[in-house]
């Protein structure tokens, strides 16, 4: 059941009505049942894997909590749980990628393995990370294990977040999920408004710009120079509006049930550096990677020993860098491969890693530069930094959709073959979008930028609530009509998956 389907809206409407009709103590059971139903609609086969993850992480976490710290069995059970769940994810998601690489290597010897056609449960990367996070927290003693299997199962199968995040922590959600709520029209309105904004981003912007982005991304040989610029920006707008649109819908839906899921974006395109960008983009995933990959690696004994050795051989500075470098490389490798089973994503992750490490190396120089040049504190310089960060992010994205062998050539062509005259004669409008689509896109992106500016100071819904009722009505109803008329949906529309559903 897609978030952009009529079935989902009907399902949601019925569920909200039932939710507030039944006694509070049964609300969580209804949500759990709804989660199973929602997931089963995508194929009952996937449900089996979800239940395996639920049962294994719940049971093993409970067992671990009963074993005193320091005992070997505790660690063995932890490793068993990790291997089982990471194994399911790895096998289902990466087997074909693995076979593809093996086949490439063994091709000269005439050896070839056939690919598998296994079911890939919807949102497996999300719910696996969420469950493993809980499981690890219990092992580390950061959170108490949940004794009630149903409660824990709801945490994993809470349907709004199941297919595209955000990746929540158990200690953040447990009190919210089970306490029960009475009907609150303000909360419902607020949730619906957030959903509407999500649908706007997804249906009006993302699905409209997608053909342009895809056309350019899939033909690296045909489009150089200015087309690389257009492809780069359109791909970024597509991805941002698709992902944040989906997350807005998810958070809005959760809000209808009284649940405040963690925010996943904090105005990432207002970031002044790549490091800041990654603190504000897909925040729940980045937090997960920081807590469960980056920190454990950088603080592990083996990396510590390596750091000491490096300190002795290469000096103090290098020794200090070793944990950071190793943890960053592993974290960004995982980030890349998590996004998709292909070398494109691995390269994209590594490219980000390199860019971040370079900026880390340059940070002391940058600080000095700022101190000696006061104009760097001006708004104009701030704008320059924002634009620079946006372009760096866009350029790094090229590793995601262009073959690795083409990225550098196309990057160079952005400057050497830049010729806006190529656009004269309406060439842009032969790329899957019409001039009307283009106009809608320009206006919609302008609206998104404007709301971004406004919400930097005041959350948009708060800003809206301070306007007179008739202005609120015009703005909200206007937005609704925009989605209704200009949205890409309905007959003839391939109810396209959210990009981030695929992870």
């Amino acid at each position: 059941m897609l978030l952009v389907s009529y079935q989902f809206l009907l399902f949601l409407a019925v569920l909200v009505i039932l939710y507030y009709l039944i006694p509070k103590k049964f609300q969580w059971i209804l949500m759990f049942t709804a989660g199973l139903l929602f997931y089963a609609c995508g194929g009952p086969g996937g449900l089996v894997f979800v239940l395996v993850t639920v049962l294994s992480t719940w049971g093993l976490a409970l067992s671990i909590s009963r074993i005193p710290k320091g005992e070997k069995k505790r660690k063995s059970l932890f490793i068993l749980g990790l291997l089982l769940n990471a194994g399911i994810l790895a096998v289902l998601k990466y087997t074909n990628f693995f076979l593809q690489n093996i086949n490439t290597l063994l091709e000269p010897q005439g050896v070839s393995f056939s690919y598998v056609n296994w079911l890939l449960p919807l949102g497996i990367s999300y719910y696996t990370f969420q469950s493993v996070g809980y499981f690890t927290d219990v092992y580390l003693g950061k959170t108490e294990p949940e004794k009630n299997l149903g409660h824990y199962a709801l945490f994993v199968t809470f349907f709004p977040q199941m297919v595209q995040g955000p990746i929540s922590r158990y200690d953040e959600l447990k009190d919210q999920l089970f306490k029960g709520y009475t009907y609150d029209s303000r909360r419902i309105r607020s949730g619906l408004l957030r959903m509407l904004w999500g649908y706007f981003k997804k249906l009006v912007v993302a699905d409209r710009i997608a053909p342009l982005a895809i056309t350019i991304a899939q033909a690296p040989e045909g489009f150089g120079g200015i087309w690389v610029w257009i492809g780069m920006v359109s791909y970024t707008i597509w991805m941002y509006s698709d992902f944040t649109g989906g997350i807005d819908i998810v958070l809005g839906v959760a809000e209808l049930f009284g649940i405040a899921l963690p925010e996943n974006f904090d105005h990432p395109f207002f970031s002044k550096s790549l490091a800041e960008f990654w603190r504000r983009w897909h925040m729940s995933l980045m937090r997960w990677l920081r807590e469960y990959i980056f920190f454990p690696i950088s603080m592990s004994k083996s990396v510590g020993k390596l750091s000491q050795k490096a300190r002795k051989v290469f000096g103090k500075n290098m020794g200090r860098r070793v944990p950071l470098y190793i943890a960053s490389i592993v974290t960004w490798f995982v980030t890349g491969i998590w996004h998709g089973a292909s070398w494109n994503f691995v390269c994209w992750g590594m490219a980000n890693c390199i860019a971040l490490l370079i900026s880390q190396e340059l940070s002391s120089w940058s600080k000095k530069f700022r101190k000696t040049h006061t104009w760097t504190e001006s708004n104009a310089y701030g704008c320059f930094e924002v634009v620079r960060t946006f372009l760096i992010f866009c350029m790094l994205e090229m590793f995601e959709y262009y073959p690795f062998s083409s990225v550098f050539r196309l990057f160079v062509s952005m400057f050497t073959e830049f010729d806006p005259r190529q656009l004269i004669g309406g060439a842009l409008f032969n790329m899957g979008i019409t001039i009307q689509d283009f106009t809608i896109l320009i206006l919609s992106v302008a609206l998104m930028v404007w709301t971004g500016f406004v919400s930097l100071k005041t959350p948009m819904r708060e800003w809206l609530s301070k306007r007179p009722a008739w202005i609120r009505f015009i703005l909200v109803y206007g937005l609704f009509l925009c989605v209704l008329i200009f949205g890409i949906y309905g007959q003839g529309y391939d109810a396209s998956q959210f990009i981030y559903n695929q992870f």
């Binding site: 009529y6 689509d437 009722a469 008329i485 890409i488 949906y489 007959q491």
Partner: protein, 356 residues
């Protein structure tokens, strides 16, 4: 809620309902241009007179029989409820729908649709179903004939289906915003251009010539509904040369008609008797009749329809006046098309020259 809130709520609801209705009206296709088939079904509701004969079916019904010719020659009052690729189940629901307004004495069912029981394109469904007024018949027609990828809600709120037409709006959408123009003559699609029958693509092989059970199910329903309402049911096969009407199909219709005593008029086997000349009486190379062919088919049908119990109403003054108006419009349309075709060799509206 205090009274002020009630008022606000009421005004907001009014604005929402009004604007959505207005937008829907603007964005739904008007079918006034090159493709007019989508307007056919709805035109029935505009005609307040009763009809002795109801003709049901797909293009073989609405392109091959002229109700005005039936009136002129035999005084038979008739209406064709047909649309492009209209399925047999849809013909059944249109019969149900018609019975809400009148009970014809006879139903002439074009049976060519028996060979294609599932819809092939959503567009055809919309052209048939959108034209129906809301009733149980329409609900059931949508439910039982929509394609798997269609959504019921898009029939209830057509804006959801046609919202993307915002970028294709034309003058027609404003011109016919409130009301369209008649596109048929009692459901008949008049064409006065001529394209002689030529060569046809190779005959498609029919793997399984047996009609599907669903077709028979609805044929039974039509028959039972006619029996229940005292309506004489007749089957009709138009004299279309292509797509080929296979003998296996013909025999099945003959068997069914024989079993239930239903007259089966197969004009395809009576080409000589109809007097059709495929050099002059077809507008699309033998697939469908033009007005000259349709008039010949009507002349051929008339005696059989009278024999089946239909009456000549030409001596009834009220009907005579009403049908005179229809006849005048029909003749004017026919003359205009004939003149244009004689001058240009084609009809601009159907040659893509219609710009709206």
């Amino acid at each position: 809620m205090d009274s002020k809130k009630y008022t606000r709520f009421f005004i907001a609801a009014l604005i929402i309902a009004g604007s959505l209705t207005a937008l829907t009206r603007l964005l739904v296709p008007k079918y006034m241009g090159q493709v007019t088939e989508g307007a056919f079904i709805g035109e029935y509701y505009e005609d307040k007179s009763s009809h002795d004969l109801l003709i049901l079916g797909d293009c073989e019904a609405y392109e091959n029989i002229s109700p005005v010719a039936l009136w002129k020659e035999y005084g038979i009052t008739s209406w064709i409820r047909g649309s492009a690729q209209q399925l047999i189940p849809q013909s059944y629901y249109l019969l149900e729908d018609t019975l809400r307004y009148e009970t014809p004495k006879a139903v002439l069912l074009s049976i060519s649709a028996m060979q294609q029981i599932e819809q092939v394109s959503e567009t055809y469904n919309r052209m048939t179903l959108d034209g129906m007024q809301w009733s149980d018949a329409k609900l059931m027609a949508i439910k039982n004939t929509m394609m798997p990828e269609e959504h019921f809600i898009e029939y209830v709120f057509p804006l959801l289906r046609f919202h993307s037409r915002w970028s294709d709006l034309s003058e027609d959408d404003l011109k016919y915003y409130f009301h369209g123009e008649p596109t048929t003559h009692n459901g008949y699609y008049l064409r006065a251009d001529v394209r002689p029958a030529g060569e046809f693509p190779e005959e498609r092989r029919v793997r399984n010539p047996e009609f599907e059970a669903k077709g028979y199910e609805y044929l039974d329903k039509i028959r039972e509904l006619c029996d229940k309402n005292g309506i004489k049911l007749m089957f009709f096969k138009a004299p279309s040369l292509y797509p080929v009407w296979h003998e296996e199909w013909n025999m099945q219709i003959e068997d069914y008609a024989g079993t239930y005593g239903i007259p089966y008029i197969n004009a395809l086997k009576d080409i000589e008797k109809t007097g059709i000349d495929f050099d002059t009486d077809t507008y699309d190379g033998g697939l469908h009749m033009n007005v000259y062919g349709a008039e010949k088919v009507s002349s051929y049908l008339g005696p059989m329809l009278l024999e089946a119990g239909l009456q000549d109403h030409r001596n009834e003054p009220e009907l005579a006046v009403l049908w005179k108006e229809k006849e005048n419009r029909y003749e004017a349309d026919k003359a205009a098309q004939t003149k244009e075709f004689a001058e240009k060799g084609y009809l601009a509206k159907y040659a893509g020259e219609y710009t709206h």
